[in-house]
Structures are given as structure tokens and as C-alpha cells.
């Protein structure tokens, strides 16, 4: 323990680890969040921090790396909703922190952070050696500009949902909407909520205890952009990242050149290319087979056998908290009736969905969107399939003759429409007459928060509370089901500030139960994902969110 000012809770945490009350993973996560360095935390838990070891390995230098991935139009890096888009932007801009493939969060643009004892005050110390491409240093004012921008409701970033309980308060705008309801908005709860301490130190003064601040800072749209550019993304943008965008053609390709003067050390490769081969999986696999690309963003399950047969390719699997949920609008008929929501859950057989869609690979979910690999996960009993009870609930809700519903889903990746099809067949047995509306992915992402009934994929987050505050807190941008439950919101804020793991898990059990009994989602499964890279590519580690960190990658000639 070499930290000068350690958090008062740390000794207790070490004690809990030694007496076996928390496991190693939970210790690592909480200790690093409280400001202990990852190296020190791993040392106490009896291990070696895997990241520096990886960086020091001898790597081939130079060369061009080509990755097959969709290249989308990007309007504003702070408002993106596609992980693919984040993979492109991530190479040009950095985050304040970085959550590694081991789910441990480390400082990145930050040198360190420190949390107050009550977890309300977070002091973020910036590295002093970070330079933008134009040579300017990264300073506190720029970081503050970014945080303020992302929590501005006019910008529409999903980050607002993560920061709301700590930094924001609701207020009445004085206007009314078309339905005569008051229009509410959010603003900083205090003028000092985001405070500049000096040129390299920023302080977040939260109104409530927040444990996940460092993890939130790595939420994928949370880039540190240059204020002069005001959210534009195009060739030649200023960034602190390891690469510079030199070519960007939507639906075709993006080319990035390594920055030799990158503050984190020059990347191994010279050039990185993202190549867009369209939505169809066949050309992507064909391109890998004929070595026209060196790696893929994702391998579709249907293509796995074809890829396994390629001798020059390595497959990288990862167990994740990635999932897809069918959700009805909580405030619209017929899903505003809890009996309808419960009937859908009772009519679903998760294991069958996994068997059909993923040939049995994956874990059945419990309709509450917290994964077994989340540190705060509390095990709840599985919702058993009960068609008779589902029918009865539907009849009680006034739909004795059945209910017509239309569910929207996207056609890519292919598993999503397949999962919806299987569930639709299951729901039909309980009296739901389901119509499928399968559309291209970009059409779906245009309407995903608005459609009355839809199936949406959710990527992995290191914490269950992050998912909850992004997707189910009242009024936030990504609350696609318009879920609103005051008790849920209150417990969620409590959970976000609970330092003690057991206490946090007890609150999570309540939250999960609310989701199971009242929540708007039908969640069949947790996915196992995989991708594939040419064996010449070195340094690749599958991140559970499919994030690509190209400065860690190298390619043999």
C-alpha cells in the first residue's frame, strides 16, 4: 500500500478479502474504484496486473491492420448508440478512465482519482503529459467542457442517465407537452457540481454517494473531445488518441494513421483500416478466408463453423453481460398492465431460445438485466414457464380472446430476429397473436426508444447499476421502455452509493425483484460472443464489450 492518502474503507476491504467475505474480483473492483492502483490491488489479492505485462511483450513494428466492421455516419461522438461507431472514434479520442478486459477500471487520461469517505466528492487528477494533435496540452477546462456538454439535455447524450443521480436535478421548464403534461428537464444540482481545482484537477461534487464514477467515465460515448470542434467528427479532427483520422467514407472505409507522438507511446502498427463489407455476414467471412481483412468486429454464430475451418485464424470468445431484451412501453397500452407484462414473461422459455438460436451456448436470464458476472448480482429464482398461468393473467387483463401485438426487431446481427421468432412462437401458445416487424439495423436504431414493442440488444457493462441507470431510471435518454418507478429510482440511487458489497447486493436483490415482478422487459438470455483474427495479429484480447484498442495491436509482416 503505497498510496499516500488512502480511502478509509480500504483496510476493511482487505479484511473482507482475507476472511473470504468478498471474492477476489469484487475486491479488485472496489479497491481500484477507491483509488488504489491496479498493480497494488492485484498484489494484495495475490496476482499480477495483466495489462503492463501485456504491453511489455515484444511486438512486431509497423504494418497495416484491416478490420471488417460497419463504418457509420457519426453525427456527434457524445451521442452515438453503436459500439461499432465507438470503435472508430476510440482510436482518435481517449477516455478519462479505461475498464480493461478483466473488468477492472484504471486511470487513463487521469493520473489518479480520489474519492471522499462519503463517496460524494471525486477528485480527478489529469496526466500532465497528454497532448492534442496540435500540440496543446489537455487541461481541466477542456475536461469540464466535455462533462458539462454530455449532461446537457439539449445534446441528448446517454451519459446524462449515468450522471443524473450524482450531478443533476430535475426542474419544471414551465412548458407543457402535447398531452398536457408538464415538461421536465435536468440541470446541474449546484453551480459547483463540476469544479475546477487547478489546471490539471477537476472535482465532481455529487449530491448523493456514487461508487461507479470511474466506470461511468468509460461509458462509450464519454470521449474527451476538443472544445473548438463542438462535437464534429471528420477527417483531421483534433484528438488526444493514438491515431489520426485520414480517410472516412461512410459505408466503405475509415483509415487511421498512427501518431508517433502519442503520449502513451507510439502504436505498434502504422495504419489501421476499418472496412465496411455491408450487413451480410457471408462477404465478411469470405474476406477473412481470402486474407482481405485481418480481423472481424464480431463473428456471427451461424458462421462459426466456417471460421473454425480456417487454419490461419484464431477465434476469441468472451463471456459477457451482452443481451437482448423485448420491452413494451411501460406507459402505453397494453404493456401498461402488469398482467400483460407478466404473461409475456411466463410464456417465455429462455433455455429453448438459447438452444435454438445459439445451439445451447449462453446462459438463461431472469428478466431483470443484471448478469451473473456482475459483481453485485443477487441470484433470484428463475421465472418458470407456465402457459396456463400466462393465459389466465391475459384473461384477467381483459384479453380472454387473445391479444394482438407487433414487435419490432432488427435483421442484423442475425441472432436477434431468430430469438424474437422463437419467443413469438412461445407467446402464441399463451394467446398473443404476434406480428414480427424485422427491419434493417439502422432503421431500428432510429426508432428504438419510440416503438411500442421492440427487441433491443444491450452491450456489456461492468456493473449492473450502470445498466439500470442507463436504461431504467425515470426520464433518461436510453430508457426505451419509458419505465418509471419511484421506488426503483430511490433504491437505485442507494445502490450506486453503497460501498459495502453485501449491503449493495441486498439492495440489488430488491431492485432485481422489482424488475422481475413489475419491469417492462422480457429477457431470455446472456450471450457468449466471439470474434476472429488472423494469427499474424498480436496483442488482441477480447473485451466483453467488443471494444477495440488498436494501439495495443500489432501485425507480423
Amino acid at each position: 500500500m503505497t498510496e499516500t492518502k488512502q480511502h478509509p474503507y480500504l483496510p476493511k476491504l482487505v479484511d473482507q478479502l482475507e476472511t473470504g467475505r468478498i471474492d477476489r474480483r469484487e475486491f479488485l473492483r472496489t479497491a481500484t474504484l477507491l483509488g488504489l492502483s491496479a498493480g497494488a490491488a492485484y498484489a494484495i489479492a495475490g496476482g499480477i496486473d495483466p495489462l503492463p505485462a501485456l504491453a511489455q511483450a515484444a511486438m512486431p513494428k509497423g504494418g497495416r491492420l484491416r478490420i471488417a466492421m460497419r463504418v457509420h455516419e457519426i453525427k456527434d461522438p457524445h451521442t452515438i448508440t453503436w459500439v461499432e461507431a465507438s470503435n472508430l472514434i476510440r482510436q482518435c479520442y481517449d477516455y478519462l478512465t479505461r475498464t480493461g478486459h478483466d473488468n477492472i477500471t484504471r486511470p487513463y487520461l487521469l493520473e489518479k482519482w480520489a474519492a471522499s469517505e462519503d463517496l460524494k466528492t471525486w477528485t480527478l487528477s489529469l496526466r500532465k503529459d497528454v497532448k492534442w494533435r496540435n500540440g496543446q496540452p489537455l487541461v481541466a477546462d477542456q475536461v469540464i467542457w466535455n462533462i458539462k456538454r454530455t449532461v446537457d439535455p439539449a445534446v441528448g447524450s446517454s451519459i446524462l442517465g449515468l450522471m443524473k443521480s450524482g450531478l443533476l436535478q430535475e426542474f419544471d421548464t414551465g412548458q407543457v407537452d402535447a398531452n398536457g403534461k408538464k415538461k421536465m428537464s435536468t440541470r446541474l444540482w449546484d453551480s459547483k457540481a463540476i469544479e475546477k481545482v487547478d489546471d490539471y484537477t477537476v472535482r465532481l461534487n455529487c449530491q448523493a454517494a456514487q461508487l461507479s464514477v470511474p466506470e461511468n467515465l468509460f461509458h462509450y460515448p464519454f470521449y474527451m473531445l476538443h472544445p473548438d470542434e463542438n462535437g464534429a467528427f471528420k477527417v483531421g479532427v483534433q484528438g488526444t488518441g493514438a491515431f489520426e483520422l485520414v480517410e472516412y467514407e461512410v459505408n466503405r472505409k475509415a483509415v487511421l494513421r498512427a501518431r508517433k507522438d502519442y503520449w502513451g507511446g507510439a502504436p505498434h502498427i502504422d495504419t489501421l483500416e476499418f472496412i465496411d463489407l455491408g450487413n451480410e455476414t457471408a462477404p465478411i467471412v469470405a474476406a477473412l478466408a481470402s486474407k482481405q481483412v485481418d480481423g472481424l468486429y464480431e463473428v456471427d454464430f451461424a458462421q462459426l463453423d466456417a471460421i473454425k475451418a480456417m487454419p490461419h485464424v484464431t477465434i476469441y470468445p468472451a463471456t459477457t453481460a451482452q443481451t437482448g431484451v423485448a420491452r413494451g412501453k411501460y406507459d402505453q397500452k397494453p404493456f401498461n398492465d402488469v398482467r400483460v407484462r407478466q404473461a409475456l414473461k411466463l410464456a417465455t422459455d429462455p433455455q429453448k431460445v438459447i438452444d435454438v438460436v445459439f445451439r445451447g451456448v449462453g446462459d438463461a436470464a431472469e428478466h431483470h438485466h443484471v448478469a451473473p458476472i456482475h459483481p453485485e448480482y443477487a441470484k433470484l429464482p428463475m421465472v418458470k414457464r407456465d402457459v396456463a398461468k400466462a393465459k389466465q393473467l391475459l384473461a384477467e387483463a381483459g384479453y380472454a380472446d387473445g391479444l394482438d401485438v407487433e414487435i419490432a426487431a432488427k435483421n442484423q446481427p442475425a441472432w436477434e430476429a431468430a430469438a424474437v421468432t422463437v419467443m413469438a412462437e412461445q407467446w402464441k401458445e399463451a394467446g398473443f397473436r404476434v406480428k414480427l416487424n424485422v427491419m434493417p439495423a439502422n432503421s431500428y436504431w432510429d426508432i428504438w426508444t419510440k416503438v411500442p414493442f421492440g427487441f433491443t440488444s444491450w452491450t456489456h457493462r461492468p456493473l449492473g447499476v450502470m445498466t439500470y441507470s442507463l436504461a431504467y431510471r425515470t426520464g433518461v435518454a436510453w430508457n426505451e421502455a419509458s419505465y418509471s418507478n419511484p421506488e426503483f429510482d430511490k433504491l437505485l440511487t442507494e445502490a450506486e452509493g453503497a460501498l459495502d458489497v453485501e449491503k449493495r447486493r441486498a439492495i440489488m436483490a430488491k431492485l432485481e425483484k422489482i424488475m422481475q415482478d413489475d419491469g417492462p422487459i422480457i429477457q431470455p438470455l446472456w450471450r457468449q460472443i466471439q470474434t476472429a483474427y488472423d494469427k499474424r495479429v498480436k496483442g488482441f484480447r477480447m473485451h466483453p464489450t467488443q471494444y477495440i484498442f488498436a494501439e495495443t495491436l500489432a501485425i507480423e509482416a
Binding site: V250, A282, P283, A287, L288, S290, Q292, A309, I447, K450
Partner: protein, 310 residues
């Protein structure tokens, strides 16, 4: 001749105007449906009003149509939403890519299928005829969506001879053209060869060929000088129609091989609800259809002396 050409040009222009009117009525007559296409079905009323105002949709329909037509004629085809650039530049890039594909497609298709058709039709019922006919039936019954997979499995996955996609990321490469051209030629070869064969067989039974034979002219001379000219009229029409077919028919091939051509652009535009790009693509397709029709008519005149236009 000049008068004939003049009439054709006027006819072409008239067709284009009618097509543009139909297109406008289909896509743009109802501003509400336009704004829903662009902003999505769940956009709110305020957003829609703002967008309609900004894009001039409160003008009367005829004024909007004339305005659109004048802009289109002047080369301003609007802005593509998904590519975020002028529609005209993206359409020309993609169209020239498809033209390259089309050029090589015809460069192989025409000699191969005409030769096979003529050979088969020269002596109807011969062993050569039956062999070629069997080949033709096999090729015509293999649709592109099946043959793409077949050639991929064979040449990319099993033999590893050819690149599996044709996105030309590192600039133009002939290797990447092989599979798309192969798939298209395989599909079309049977059809064109069968038409040529039927036409050739017809001609071979006509009295003037019999007369030529009985006069004692060498067989090769009868075929080349007398039979071919008449036998090629039908296949020529078919081939000209294939330019139109190629524009739409290549969608599957371009999609499967990730070839960035006009077919995949139409697909991108319609899936991405890119209205202005889709309009530009449709108008270009109409232009090509009308253009090839005119060329076919003119060429007809030269090929068949019996057809004379007044």
C-alpha cells in the same frame, strides 16, 4: 435520319418527364410521408414542422415539382442523408463501378453465348446442339443467389485461389472482378445462348439459306454472310435489354461480394430511407432504360433492312 434521331430525343425527354412526374407523385406528393421517411415514424410534430419549413415543403406541390425538376436537370440531385454528400457525386462513382463490372460481363457474355448459340443452331439436333443446350439449361437454372455461394465455397474457401470480396479497398484489382463476373456470366449465358440458338435454327430453315446451299456456296460462307445477320437480331435485342437488367440484377452479386456499385447503392438508399438518393438512383435507372432503348432502335435499322423508320 436526322429527323428520326430528333424524334427519338424528344421521345426520350418526354418519357423522362413522365417518369419524373410519377416518381414525384410516389415519393414527394405528401410532405407528411416525406418527413416521416426522413425523421422516422416516432418523430414529434414540432420536429416535423421544423424540417418541412426548412426544406421548403410548405410550397404548393406543382411548385415543388418544377423546382425539383429544374434542379435535377441542372445536376443538383439533392443531398444523400446516409453518405452526407451530394447525391450526384456518389451516384456517378457507383455507376462507373457498375459500368466496369458490366463491361467485363458483356466482354465475356457476348462472344461466349453467341458462339455457343450459333454453333448449336447451325445443325439442330446434332450432338453438339444437345450438349450446348444441356449446358444452357443448367446455367440458366442456377440463380445468382445460389451460384454466389457455390463459387465462393469452391474458389475462396476450398481452393483459396480468389479473393472472397470485391470491395476494391486498395484500388482497382482484376482479381476481385473474377467472381462477380463469373456469377453474372454463368447466369446469363444459358439464356442468351438459347435465344441465339432458336433464332439461328429458324434462319437455317428459311428458303433463302436453302437456296444458297443448293447454289453450292461453301457452308462457312452461307453461315457468316447470310445466316448470321438475320439470326443476330433477336439476341441483340435481348442483350440491349440486359443493360437494364444488369442495373437491378446486380444487386445480389454486388451485395454478396461487397462490390460498391450502383446495385448496392440502390439497396443502401432504400434500406437507409435516403429519399433524395433513391430518387436520383431511380431517375438514373430510367435514363439508362430509355437510352438503351434508343440505341437498340437505331441499331435495329442497320441490322434489318426491312425495318425502316419514317
Amino acid at each position: 435520319m436526322i429527323r428520326f434521331l430528333g424524334r427519338r430525343v424528344v421521345y426520350m425527354a418526354a418519357t423522362m418527364v413522365v417518369a419524373s412526374l410519377v416518381l414525384f407523385l410516389l415519393f414527394e406528393l405528401d410532405p407528411e410521408s416525406v418527413v416521416v421517411q426522413v425523421l422516422g415514424p416516432y418523430s414529434n410534430a414540432d420536429q416535423r414542422q421544423l424540417w418541412l419549413q426548412k426544406n421548403g415543403y410548405f410550397e404548393p406541390a406543382y411548385a415543388r415539382y418544377l423546382n425539383w425538376l429544374v434542379h435535377f436537370a441542372a445536376g443538383d440531385w439533392g443531398r444523400s442523408r446516409i453518405f452526407n454528400m451530394p447525391a450526384v457525386s456518389i451516384v456517378w462513382t457507383r455507376l462507373s463501378n457498375t459500368a466496369i463490372l458490366g463491361f467485363w460481363f458483356f466482354a465475356f457474355l457476348i462472344p461466349l453465348s453467341l458462339a455457343a448459340g450459333v454453333l448449336a443452331g447451325m445443325r439442330e439436333g446434332s450432338r453438339l446442339d444437345r450438349t450446348i443446350s444441356a449446358l444452357c439449361v443448367a446455367s440458366a437454372s442456377l440463380p445468382p443467389f445460389a451460384s454466389t455461394v457455390l463459387v465462393s465455397v469452391l474458389f475462396v474457401f476450398t481452393l483459396g485461389w480468389l479473393p472472397g470480396t470485391s470491395s476494391m479497398i486498395d484500388g482497382f484489382a482484376y482479381r476481385e472482378l473474377v467472381l462477380p463476373v463469373l456469377v453474372l456470366v454463368v447466369y446469363d449465358f444459358g439464356y442468351v445462348a438459347r435465344i441465339t440458338r432458336a433464332s439461328m435454327a429458324d434462319v437455317m430453315t428459311t428458303p433463302y439459306i436453302r437456296t444458297a446451299m443448293l447454289k453450292g456456296l461453301p457452308y462457312a460462307r452461307v453461315i457468316v454472310r447470310h445466316a448470321l445477320r438475320n439470326a443476330l437480331i433477336a439476341p441483340f435485342t435481348v442483350i440491349m435489354l440486359h443493360v437494364n437488367w444488369l442495373i437491378a440484377g446486380v444487386i445480389v452479386v454486388e451485395f454478396f461480394f461487397a462490390y460498391k456499385g450502383f446495385g448496392s447503392l440502390i439497396l443502401d438508399a432504400s434500406l437507409g430511407r435516403d429519399l433524395q438518393l433513391l430518387e436520383a438512383c431511380t431517375m438514373v435507372t430510367v435514363m439508362i432504360a430509355v437510352g438503351t432503348q434508343t440505341i437498340a432502335d437505331i441499331a435495329y435499322m442497320y441490322l434489318n433492312p426491312r425495318i425502316r423508320f419514317k
